[in-house]
């Protein structure tokens, strides 16, 4: 085969390739190029808040009582429905639909008063029967919501009158206000179909439309609470943190929840508002207290002493956070405040290893994954830091989609994930003997007896002190290495205010955020 002669028809396409590209790009973009880097598309009313909320990817769920995998789902629910209590600025419970909660002498029967002026969007008043129905539904879905209401005997609980809920706990439990803080979204009694859409709610906003990504909410002017500053809130569920940061920086949204650490400095320099929320993200390292070599408390302490927390914090969270002190819930109101910060002590760690009979070192596998950014880096760094004390850790990176099935709660040594969770929630999920999620195999009878007795203590101050002591014991003897606590950073357009400082569940409330003023 011979090459054909270069003829005129062969030359034109080359120009065409370039021209086609440029023309298409310009034609498509030309009309609105001006609007993209300033305050969003022209005509956006200033009473609208556009929020890019963190999402777990995939379809939004419409069931408020099951698994709320992405924060965007919590945000949608928190706008649509009222909850019984909410976390306040310091993480303690504050009234919402429930105005008061008082126990009897045994701390097992609680009278919860509900406000009488809340109404569902279909006009029906919100009653205690609706609240009880919703709580029972959460109880039925315990496997999906971390057994959130496991402390209650919901069958024995009742709704004696429209504004009174009588809640029965299985054991004396003084922290009922805290227990009602998470996801207690109240829906109308006897609702059965949660597949078709959001059911009528009594919350500050009402869903009016949207698409697969966005739910549009309009203010519920009949809401009993403080009037929300925005009339419309558009909640966009976006899984990619970088995309959320870019969305706010290009003016496509007004507020982005949880952006990558690398995006913060440039955005701040460009005049965007940075809302920093300490204590949001932890990658604690789990050491199973029932499996060698970590069944020896001296080995666990050696690991805690050998860890260079500053290096981990600077590398994994780019320094945006605080050093960990092995406290599993450092932002909980009951977390002990005056403990000395752990610092690296290689000699002490080596001595402990020798005492434990491991002077010659030991081989272990350190599991990690890429489910959250930097989890793999944390494992690699830690493995390097442990080498000088003879712990030869082989890092094994598992696929993110099965990590929490195969490794979590099973392997003796791995990088776990926790974020913004109150102490008693961690206790229920991860520190209850026999539970499949008791990942450190923590089962100290004395500790559990102290916990039960602390929860039966009616005095709030002494109770907090005793809960703090329990956290100190766990820090010194338990199987968690907490090397650092990363900040969560939200980015907002200039003029946006009122972003809640809360982490965890509380971060899902955006009804009091003020949208940017018109530009």
């Amino acid at each position: 085969m011979t090459a054909p002669p270069i003829s005129p028809p062969n030359r034109r396409p080359r120009r065409f390739v370039v021209t086609a590209l440029v023309v298409t790009a310009l034609a498509l973009s030309g009309c609105s190029a001006g609007g993209t880097s300033t305050g969003g598309p022209a005509g956006t009313p200033s009473d609208t808040l556009r929020y890019a909320a963190p999402s777990a990817g995939g379809a939004a769920t419409n069931d408020p009582h099951g698994l709320l995998a992405g924060e965007s789902d919590i945000v949608r629910m928190a706008l649509t429905y009222d909850v019984l209590t909410v976390p306040g600025p310091d993480g303690s419970p504050e009234p919402r639909l429930a105005t008061e909660w008082t126990p009897d002498d045994t701390l097992t029967r609680w009278t919860v008063s509900l406000r009488g002026d809340a109404a569902f969007s279909d006009g029906r008043p919100v009653t205690a029967a609706d609240a009880l129905f919703s709580l029972r539904r959460m109880g039925e879905k315990a496997a999906e919501n971390f057994g959130r209401l496991a402390m209650f005997d919901l069958a024995a609980s009742s709704a004696p009158d429209p504004t009174t809920l009588l809640l029965v706990t299985t054991t004396p439990y003084a922290e009922v206000g805290t227990a009602l803080m998470g996801a207690t979204f109240v829906v109308p009694d006897a609702t059965t179909d949660f597949g078709a859409g959001l059911v009528p709610g009594s919350g500050p906003f009402r869903p009016t439309g949207g698409d697969a990504q966005t739910t549009v909410f309009e203010r519920n002017d009949g809401w009993w609470g403080p009037p929300p500053p925005s009339r419309v809130i558009e909640v966009r569920a976006i899984a990619d943190p970088a995309a959320r940061a870019q969305a706010v920086q290009s003016g496509e949204v007004d507020l982005a929840g949880s952006v990558p650490a690398v995006a913060v400095a440039p955005a701040e320099a460009a005049g965007f508002t940075v809302a920093r929320k300490p204590g949001a993200t932890m990658y604690p390292v789990v050491m199973r207290t029932d499996t060698a070599p970590f069944d020896d408390p001296r080995v666990r302490e050696a690991v805690k002493l050998a860890t260079d927390r500053r290096q981990l914090l600077d590398t994994v969270f780019l320094g945006q956070g605080e050093l960990g002190n092995d406290l599993i819930t450092p932002t909980d109101p009951s977390s002990p405040q005056n403990l000395p910060q752990r610092t690296p002590d290689l000699e002490g760690a080596r001595a402990l290893m020798t005492e434990a009979g491991l002077a010659g070192g030991v081989d272990v596998t350190l599991h990690t994954t890429t489910a959250y950014p930097g989890m793999d880096t944390a494992a690699t760094l830690l493995a390097q830091q442990l080498a000088p004390i003879g712990i030869r850790a082989a890092v094994q990176v598992g696929p993110p989609d099965t990590y929490f099935v195969d490794v979590y709660g099973t392997e003796p040594f791995y990088v776990s994930f926790l974020g913004g969770i109150p102490f008693l929630d961690v206790v229920r999920v991860a520190l209850t003997p026999g539970s499949p999620t008791n990942e450190t195999a923590w089962a100290d009878p004395a500790w559990n007896a102290d916990l039960a007795s602390a929860l039966a203590d009616p005095d709030a101050a002494t109770r907090a002190g005793r809960l703090g002591d329990l956290q100190t014991t766990l820090r010194d003897e338990g199987g968690y290495l907490v090397w650092g606590v990363g900040d969560r950073v939200d980015l907002a357009a200039p003029g946006v205010s009122g972003v809640s400082p809360a982490i965890g569940f509380g971060a899902g409330f955006v009804d009091q955020v003020t949208p940017p003023s018109p530009s």
């Binding site: 028809p9 080359r14 086609a20 030309g30 890019a52 920086q249 696929p399 499949p436 999620t437």
Partner: protein, 298 residues
């Protein structure tokens, strides 16, 4: 008729393969969803409730039966009907794929007709670049450096995906450029062969206008292979939406498929994958029909 039967069989085989592949992945929807939080007994109950304890063949036949009677089932994650999820997201992905095709076809044709080693290198490089690299590069250029379009494509809620066309530039270009390079590269040899044939060279020497030569002599001979490449390219465009939608913050079928595979949400995976298979197989069927007709005509 035989071709049509073959196409239907191909789609069926694809659906079996996808079903089996999803089933063979470690962990199922119930296990992923409960994320290690429940014990073995509870897990078994949840599995039974979701029908995941039944043999895989029975589950597949159930799904197929449902599909044929118009009920493709509900998501194992959100409980929402698959038809609703797919219907809500299809417009975004269809607009992206059609937009990319409209751009890629003339580009591919141009690349296929262009001689020279430089173009050859361009074609290979373009086809070899992963979409995520193309996307990030285009965003850095068109959005970062030149500020022509937003770096993310957040489509206006409740309006058609094309109501802000500038938002489609980055995702469509990201899909179209590598596809055009691939298709152009595939067809370069064919076009060169055809152009080198005596009757084409005669026509050129006789002074026939290039467009007429292309339409009358080159086009019919290239059409069959071109359509086949186009069908395969359409498949790769559909696959490319998984990357592009995630990268630019869009909620289409690609993003849904990624999340559904991660969650082992078999009913959703099945329907989205089936749609992709139908696009490719229908394209190939059409290409075969055209090729057969061309043979007959000559």
């Amino acid at each position: 008729m035989g071709a049509l039967l073959r196409a239907v069989a191909l789609v069926l085989v694809a659906s079996v393969a996808v079903f089996a592949a999803t089933a063979l992945l470690p962990a199922d929807a119930v296990a992923v969803r409960s994320g290690g939080r429940v014990d073995g007994e509870q897990l078994a109950q949840l599995r039974a409730a979701a029908g995941l304890d039944r043999p895989i063949v029975a589950r597949y036949l159930d799904w197929l039966g449902g599909l044929l009677t118009g009920d493709p089932g509900s998501s194992l994650v959100s409980g929402r009907p698959v038809a609703e999820l797919v219907g809500q997201r299809a417009p975004v992905s269809v607009v992206l794929v059609v937009g990319a095709l409209v751009l890629a076809v003339p580009l591919a044709a141009a690349l296929a007709r262009t001689r020279g080693p430089a173009v050859g290198v361009l074609v290979v490089a373009g086809a070899a670049l992963p979409p995520v690299v193309v996307g990030v590069g285009l965003a850095a250029l068109l959005s970062g450096a030149w500020q022509l379009v937003p770096p993310v494509s957040l489509l206006p809620a409740g309006r058609p995906p094309w109501s802000r066309p500038e938002l489609l530039v980055l995702p469509v270009l990201t899909l179209a450029l590598p596809t055009a390079a691939y298709a152009g590269g595939q067809l370069r040899g064919t076009v060169a062969d055809v152009v080198a044939r005596p009757f084409v060279r005669d026509a050129v020497l006789r002074g026939m206008p290039p467009t007429a030569v292309a339409l009358r002599y080159v086009g019919p001979l290239v059409a069959g292979p071109a359509l086949r490449v186009l069908a395969v390219s359409a498949g790769s465009l559909v696959a490319g939406t998984t990357v592009v939608e995630t990268l630019f913050g869009m909620s289409g079928l690609g993003e849904l498929l990624v999340a559904a595979v991660r969650a082992r949400d078999v009913p959703v995976v099945q329907v989205v994958a089936l749609l992709a298979a139908v696009v490719v197989v229908a394209g190939l069927l059409f290409a075969d029909l055209v090729a057969t007709r061309n043979e007959r005509d000559r």
